[in-house]
Symmetry: C2
Subunit: 111 residues, 2 copies
């Protein structure tokens, strides 16, 4: 049984575009569309072991990017900080334009 | 004459860690330490054409990452938005804790 690493779905959203199309598609079917290995195997016409190998290599690439760049973690941290800042701004009755600006910033960080 | 692309230095700071060590070192010597091709050639013991080839391929990799992920541009945009927000916060007399929080956020974005 191949175990899903739930963090991979997030890394796929983040770094997926640098993966070759085939790898990205397989990971997408597996993590976002919840296909089984057998279903992916049938869909793209390779063995289940072949699917497993593609998934493993693609996961390793995504983890390599995050280990080197750490940008997924950085964006998550920034979104949390912005959220806390918005709470403080509301609490201290900052002007609407400031509160909206912080909320807009959070949206952009999360995009 | 090989022309320097000034944007590469920034992309190197941003994505450089995903490049293999040799490529990263050559780009670093060329863009950050301002070595000439001849000096790099002497330093690492390969021809000037070899150095030129390494630089070209490494530049292409960095540009590929940015074209796919756009994270360097995203961070620059976020830093600018945060800067504008700080100006608005100061202008509308937001509390010190809000202004400091925005300034801290900008520092983290630029780190």
């Amino acid at each position: 049984m191949y175990e899903k690493n739930l963090n991979i779905g997030y890394l796929l959203d983040f770094y997926g575009d640098v993966l070759p199309e085939r790898k990205r598609n397989v990971l997408d079917m597996y993590y976002n569309e919840d296909f089984s290995l057998a279903e992916i195997s049938e869909e793209i016409g390779i063995s289940r072991q072949g699917v497993r190998d593609i998934i493993k290599k693609a996961e390793e690439e995504l983890c390599f990017f995050e280990s080197k760049l750490g940008l997924s973690k950085k964006m998550t941290d920034l979104a949390q900080k912005t959220d806390s800042l918005l709470a403080v701004a509301i609490e201290t009755q900052a002007s609407a334009v400031v509160c909206e600006g912080i909320a807009e910033l959070k949206k952009r960080i999360e995009q």
